[in-house]
Amino acid sequence: MRSALVIAAKDLRQRARDRSVYVFAIVAPLGLAAIFGFVFNPISDADFTATFAVANVDQGPLAAPLVDGVLGGLAQDGNVNLVHAASAEEATRLVEGDGERADQDVDAAIIIPAEFSARVQTGQPAELRVVQNANASLASSLALAIVQEYARQLDYVQGAVATVVSSDPARLADAAAIAQRAGTTPSPVSVRDVSATIKQLGNTTFYAAGLATFFLFFTVQFGVNSLLEERHAGTLSRLLAAPVPKRSIILGKAITAFGLGLVSMLILIVGTSFILGADWGNPGGVALLVVAATASAIGVMTMVSAVARTSEQGAVFSAIAAVLLGILGGTFFPINQAGGVLAGLRYATPHAWFLQGLGDLAGGSIGDIVPAIAALLAFTAVTSGIALVLLGRRLNP
């Protein structure tokens, strides 16, 4: 055991002098997380306020509930800006963008034509108009949805009154009261909003965690590849000749890799939390996940290196493995949105389990990370086992 620690200490001192470790372990992930945050955050934080031009030419009793009630209510809540237009032409011009107030980005025009209320009340065909801005599909479809819902409500009240009156014409005198009562009777089916907890990482945290995981595998590889480097440099045979058991050598390299991985993750977690405002979650849970993830990284990278014959080959294979696993594991983009095979494939990477563990932790408690920890430990066990078998054969003087 002591010899393992001595080997580890020597390796760590060597690594500390090599500046490329710092780039992979700290500079690259932190820098890229900051850049990704700068690029991607503004679009997800974008405030969604729509601007509608409203032309209430009708000014009748059936226009008021739409204009003052529905739209006015939305404007008061701050979700919508209303611009009042005097005519349908003016409203349309505002959407097309070459009117007097062209600097306002108007997403849609809502036009209640003349005689609208009168026509509805006398059972004649009536029309509401929506002009959508071609470049504001989200906001303009909101306008369309609002107007369509209002039209449906009018249709319903008309239908209710007509049905009552058709079976008992005497009640026509009562039409207004019936309409009033119909309007306040709710639909048989109501939709209840159940807010799900968010078991996903917020954007900043996602980039921070994804990049940290991605580069963890490179960082760990520095410790792992040292075995092959020593063979190349000739110091391995001297180590093997010394009265040091083989397993101490392997253990020493593992400790180095573990130390490098843990320290770099710690620096990244603290760094992204303070500098970028990332929220990794419950410290205990995060610590457990990081330890398990580092162990799995060591297992995977050792297994990959064990297949290589020279340290250069080892570096190349490891880099390829790290990049492939990182992409498939969803560290750069939400690969679960790809659906199908690609989305399922991510469970074959430790990266995806680590990120999912963090997500489950974010929306729940420490107990929720058990599946992720189990998966990561399984990765560790399997890959380490294969690695040890392969290394055992290679570590012959």
Partner: protein, 390 residues
């Protein structure tokens, strides 16, 4: 010519490095495939549906949801699976119908459907679509329930009567028109086109920068010194190294263009213009590589720093988040993106792809790219003259 010989030996070194088979040839295609699969189809929200009951109304609702073109429905059998999937982002929303949906409505009782979503903007449009569908299907039952409550007739009779009455009436019509030209051009992008353009820029620059380590090695291993000891001018050596870097960038660029055309059917627009853009951007990438090769003295450091700079500049330059998204939602980021040469090359390709442009249309962009290249090369050569033999 000696410069060509130097360039050729650079390219041979590049070709012999077997790591490049993955990083230069396989990885770009893999990324374009993944990006096209994840982002290329346009995002269709997924809604989980639990509908255990049977009956006409249930079936009508399920059919209506499945036929809806604003989202895709995934049937599930239990609520907990749906909740967990929504929480994890595997579904955008979930709908849980009660088993007694039909019976309750016919009895005139109130029915509640649970809508499960994460708080935020995305679920609102799904919710609106579902509300609209329900309103349509519940129009007659709502009238029937009201009439039945008014005491005028039993539910089933009211339903039949409402159907007859409303069938004759005209209702309020909503007329919708669209004003203005859509921003996203006349030709619609193929699924992989945008990803291919972005990755072309990313990889040309990244491969150039990562390969600058080779130039550092040339200095460190004394190759440059030995070249200098022969009757060869510094100018020839620098030209040869520059051509070598350029060759690497061109190989990467042409490979991606041809490869994506063959494998993914990507369209690059007018061929001459496309080649000119690649040629110009190749100069930018190789200039940056020359500069890096001049500034670093340790090739072990140059490689990871090159990777970091390559990825970072690509992200800022519109190779990850598309420029048109930046322009719509984050103008400040869009402005910052145009500090990077990638953005100008991407704009040039957009002109080709979306507006059927030709050489004349991309000339301004070519000029800007050559400006970047000139700046890089001038700085690199100035520094290399001093440190070539160190």
């Amino acid at each position: 010519m000696k410069a060509l010989a130097i360039a050729a030996s650079n390219l041979r070194r590049f070709a012999r490095d077997r790591a490049n088979v993955f990083f230069v040839l396989i990885l770009p295609m893999l990324l374009i495939l993944v990006l096209g699969s994840v982002f290329g189809r346009g995002f269709e929200p997924r809604v989980g549906l639990v509908a255990p009951g049977t009956g006409d109304l249930t079936n009508a609702l399920v059919d209506g949801l499945e036929a809806h073109d604003e989202f895709a429905v995934r049937r599930h059998t239990d609520r907990d699976t749906v909740v967990r999937a929504v929480e994890r982002g595997e579904l955008e929303a979930g709908l849980i119908l009660p088993p007694n949906y039909d019976d309750a409505i016919r009895a005139g009782d109130a029915v509640e459907i649970d809508f499960i979503a994460r708080p935020g903007q995305d679920s609102l449009s799904i919710r609106r679509a579902i509300d609209a569908l329900l309103a349509e299907q519940m129009a007659l039952p709502r009238i029937a329930a009201f009439v039945a409550r008014e005491g005028d007739m039993p539910y089933d009779q009211a339903l039949a009567r409402a159907s007859a009455v409303t069938g004759e009436s005209v209702g309020v019509h909503v007329a919708s028109t669209v004003a203005g030209e859509p921003f996203i051009g006349r030709r619609s992008w193929g699924q992989f086109d945008l990803g291919a353009q972005q990755q072309l820029m990313l990889f040309m620059f990244l491969t150039s920068l990562a390969g600058s380590a080779a130039l550092v090695q040339t200095r460190r291993l004394g190759i440059a010194r030995r070249m200098f000891a022969t009757p060869t001018t510094v100018r020839t050596i620098l030209l040869g190294e520059g051509l070598g870097r350029y060759g690497v960038a061109l190989v990467q660029g042409i490979y991606i263009m041809l490869g994506t055309m063959l494998i993914f059917g990507v369209r690059w627009g007018d061929p001459l213009s496309a080649v000119l853009i690649v040629a110009a951007f190749g100069l930018v990438g190789s200039g940056a590589a020359m500069l890096m090769g001049a500034l670093f003295s340790n090739d072990q450091q140059a490689a990871p720093v090159g990777v970091f700079l390559g990825l970072g500049t690509a992200a800022l330059g519109g190779c990850m988040l598309p420029l048109y998204v930046m322009e719509l939602f984050a103008p400040a980021v869009w402005t910052a993106a145009h500090v990077m040469p990638h953005a100008w090359a991407l704009e040039a390709f957009e002109v080709l792809a979306l507006r059927d442009g030709g050489v004349g249309d991309v000339l301004p962009f070519l000029g800007i790219l050559l400006g970047y290249a000139a700046a890089f090369y001038v700085l690199a050569i100035w520094r290399l003259r001093a440190v070539l033999t160190r």
